[in-house]
């Protein structure tokens, strides 16, 4: 097959497919999402979005146990959620191959923290592979399935944003047709991790690490490239390519298997060069492994926070830097909620109620920014509900209401348990579920409330109101966030209740609406420059001369939120953009 241009995510999906994987499971999370979406479109596979990463890994573990090669995709923080099964699957091992595609996000382009997932290697004692580009994403995922079965272990293939979202040439191959699918046989000693069996398995984990270490010494996943012996660079992942860019003459030890590391080979490399440095993004992971292996490493001043670039590496190596043009001062451009976004109405209502808002992870996190500025916290998936309950325990809620704001997908991911806790323990917070009928931030994935599966089948729609009632919530309200008056009224009524209430704000994501309504325009005569519409933070509305408002008709989707806040009837319907010379 010829070369094609694929992202790391696309190549990983292809690698899993070529390896004969038949089951895929995951939860959307940038920068990993595409991997499962692409896998799901391939022939002869089953793939599903799960409520969260823990469930995804458990589904894959069951499939693996039953004999199907299984592929799990997640972003770095998702592994935290899946850590419980992961740590013990390291003991049970696998049936058929089980591979986790884990995408880290150094620089936090779309994440709440930086974590270096290579640390799961020594922590869980599972092998970690690190491809450097799309081509290796494919071959390493394919190889990972082989290793998973050969060493009877789940395998992590760890990448970063610049591999997952970078595209490069990939040579695709054929799918492995596995005739001898692994038959399932009951085996208590392997699969039932009660203390007695787990103790016995514990030593097999150490034996496997020893075997893997011997394998690491000889595998082609690792590669030594001898050039000038004045400088030897140990590196992995995308940093390998940055190193080749800035230090093309240096000798390189490229680790494709970063746990366990080949101590002997690394000591040999160190002995053949004058000076060894480590170039790696995020944690000093390889640096620590090398020190444990007794390799003398010359520390260089590389930042551990954020992403590395060839330039940063060159600077740390003492290379001269090019002249850079003088910067031009421009205002920041934070991401923002789209024109017509239904979350805007919910925040408008919460602002009227002067609420303390415990936030969560999704597009609605953007409501933390001015002018709405209606979010007080954002920690992790599902945290809003437990934190809102906790805030009331610290005595808040009487003067300013305490509210949780959480999206539909995030609520299903890990908000349900928090709600159960608050109800069970007699809490009083108000939980607002912003149900926009999709997992929006990651690019529109289906979830248990949308009525569709990853592969497009019709699905049972979770009834959020019925679920809340079954958890014991007696005050459950539903409102359309584009109806600002009704939203304000519902919030006003629920926040004063001395018990947990749930408000479901339900309206589809603005990007799901393919045929937008007619755009609005501002009547300059009628506008009094009061600023009410500006405070909605809609990117289609701006202030112009004399602080009056103006609507960009190329951006307006006609949601009508601004019409409702204008007390001077200054906002009216207009026609389509190109027809009236809007651009």
């Amino acid at each position: 097959m010829s070369h094609t241009l694929l992202s790391g995510n696309e190549a990983a999906a292809r690698g899993a497919w070529e390896a004969g994987a038949t089951v895929g499971a995951g939860y959307p999370g940038t920068p990993s999402t595409q991997a499962l979406e692409v896998f799901a479109r391939m022939d002869g596979v089953y793939a599903e979005w799960c409520p969260n990463e823990k469930v995804a890994l458990e589904v894959a573990a069951g499939a693996s146990m039953g004999g199907a090669r299984s592929f799990v995709t997640t972003k770095h923080v998702g592994v935290n959620v899946a850590a419980d099964p992961l740590m013990t699957l390291a003991y049970t091992g696998v049936g058929a191959g089980l591979v986790l595609w884990v995408a880290d996000d150094p620089g936090m382009h779309s994440s709440q923290n930086e974590q270096d997932s290579r640390n799961w290697g020594p922590f869980a004692r599972v092998p970690v592979l690190e491809p450097s580009d799309s081509a290796e994403a494919l071959t390493f995922v394919r190889e990972a399935f082989e290793l998973s079965e050969r060493f009877d272990t789940p395998v992590i293939v760890r990448v970063t944003t610049r591999i997952a979202h970078s595209k490069g040439a990939v040579e695709a191959g054929e799918r492995l047709e596995r005739e001898d699918a692994r038959p399932y046989e009951k085996d208590l000693g392997k699969w039932v991790m009660m203390p007695a069996m787990a103790r016995a398995r514990r030593s097999s984990v150490d034996e496997r690490v020893e075997q893997m270490t011997r394998f690491a010494e000889e595998t082609k996943l690792n590669r030594v490239e001898m050039r000038d012996t004045a400088l030897g660079i140990v590196t992995s992942g995308v940093c390998y390519h940055h190193v080749r860019e800035v230090a093309p003459d240096a000798s390189v030890f490229k680790l494709g298997l970063s746990y366990p590391v080949p101590g002997e080979a690394l000591r040999g490399f160190a002995g053949s060069v004058d000076r060894v440095v480590v170039v790696e993004e995020a944690d000093p992971y390889l640096y620590s492994r090398l020190r444990i292996e007794g390799v003398e490493v010359d520390p260089i001043p590389l930042p551990h926070a954020g992403e590395l670039t060839p330039g940063l590496i060159g600077r740390a190596l003492g290379h001269p830097q090019p002249e850079v043009r003088e910067a031009i001062d421009v205002p920041p451009r934070p991401p923002l909620m789209c024109p017509g976004c239904p979350h805007r109405g919910a925040y408008y209502a919460l602002k009227k109620a002067k609420a303390i808002v415990m936030g969560d992870i999704g597009c609605y996190t953007l409501g933390a920014l001015p002018p709405l500025a209606m979010m007080d916290s954002c920690v992790c998936m599902g945290a809003s509900v437990g934190m809102a309950h906790g805030m009331t325990l610290a005595g808040h809620g009487s003067t300013r209401p305490v509210v949780a704001v959480i999206g539909d997908s995030t609520f299903v991911h890990s908000g349900i348990t928090g709600l159960s806790d608050a109800v069970y323990n007699g809490g009083s917070a108000t939980v607002c579920i912003l149900d926009n009928r999709i997992t929006a931030m990651t690019g529109h994935q289906h979830n248990p409330v949308t009525g569709k599966t990853l592969q497009g089948a019709d699905a049972v729609e979770m009834d959020l109101e019925a679920l809340a009632r079954s958890l014991g919530v007696e005050r459950v309200r539903t409102v359309d966030p584009h109806d600002l008056e009704a939203s304000v009224e519902v919030v006003r009524e629920e926040v004063v209740a001395d018990e947990v209430s749930v408000i479901v704000f339900r309206a589809p994501c603005a990007l799901l609406i393919k045929e937008p309504e007619q755009p609005y325009a501002v009547d300059d005569e009628a506008c009094t420059a009061c600023g009410a519409c500006i405070q909605l933070g809609c990117p289609a509305i701006s202030t112009v001369e004399g602080r009056k408002a103006s609507i960009d008709i190329t951006l307006c989707v006609g949601c009508g939120d601004c019409v409702q806040v204008c007390r001077f009837s200054a906002i009216e319907l207009t026609g389509p953009a190109c027809d009236i010379g809007g651009v």
Partner: protein
């Protein structure tokens, strides 16, 4: 390093920089070159500043670039041209769409819209065009990204036919004619010498 060409496409989430970068990368690949493209999805796409790097040559190492290294900067929006100017190397080519999308702090009157950006960018050797106006002429304002590709294409050595083939393959079938027209208008607006013909 000198053998690799680096193009940075800078714009605002939703402007189609990712599709534009994809067409450029596939054209380079169709021309027999090694290619790497790096982009960011997710939160930044919601109206935030986005930049995509496309690098091509005999053998491309890093997918990223650094200040003072890019051969071409194609800005889909005026403010983003100014924000990203540092990436362009001395003598690099700067193509700028004159359209301004005010960021939220400006829209809500928190900070002033910067003045004199066009003049400042002209000092940096910018070639300007109004991609949205040309896109409307071509038949759809959504083809502005392809207008800009047409503009950048005059500074690259790929045959026009190759561009046209990749565009036809990559854009939605119903929009092929509009996009090919948009590409042509972009090329005409920025002739070989790099001067703006508007």
């Amino acid at each position: 390093m000198s053998a690799t060409t680096t193009v940075v496409l800078a714009g605002v989430g939703g402007q189609g920089t990712i599709l534009g970068a994809d067409v450029l990368a596939k054209t380079a690949m169709a021309a027999g070159l090694d290619v790497k493209l790096s982009e960011v999805h997710g939160m930044a796409q919601r109206g935030g500043a986005v930049d995509t790097v496309v690098r091509f040559g005999e053998a491309v190492a890093s997918p990223l670039t650094d200040p003072g290294h890019a051969d071409h900067l194609v800005a889909f929006e005026l403010t983003e041209a100014a924000r990203m100017i540092g990436v362009l190397k001395a003598g690099g080519r700067l193509v700028v769409n004159t359209r301004v999308i005010d960021p939220l702090p400006v829209l809500i009157g928190q900070v002033e819209s910067p003045e004199g950006l066009e003049g400042r960018l002209a000092e940096e050797g910018a070639t300007f065009l109004d991609a949205e106006a040309l896109a409307c002429d071509a038949g759809s304002p959504k083809s502005a990204n392809i207008v800009l590709l047409g503009a950048v294409s005059t500074g690259l050595s790929f045959p026009v036919e190759l561009w046209r083939e990749v565009i036809a393959e990559r854009v939605p079938p119903a929009t092929v004619d509009v996009n090919l027209h948009a590409f042509e208008l972009g090329r005409r607006a920025c002739g070989e010498g790099g001067e703006c013909l508007l």
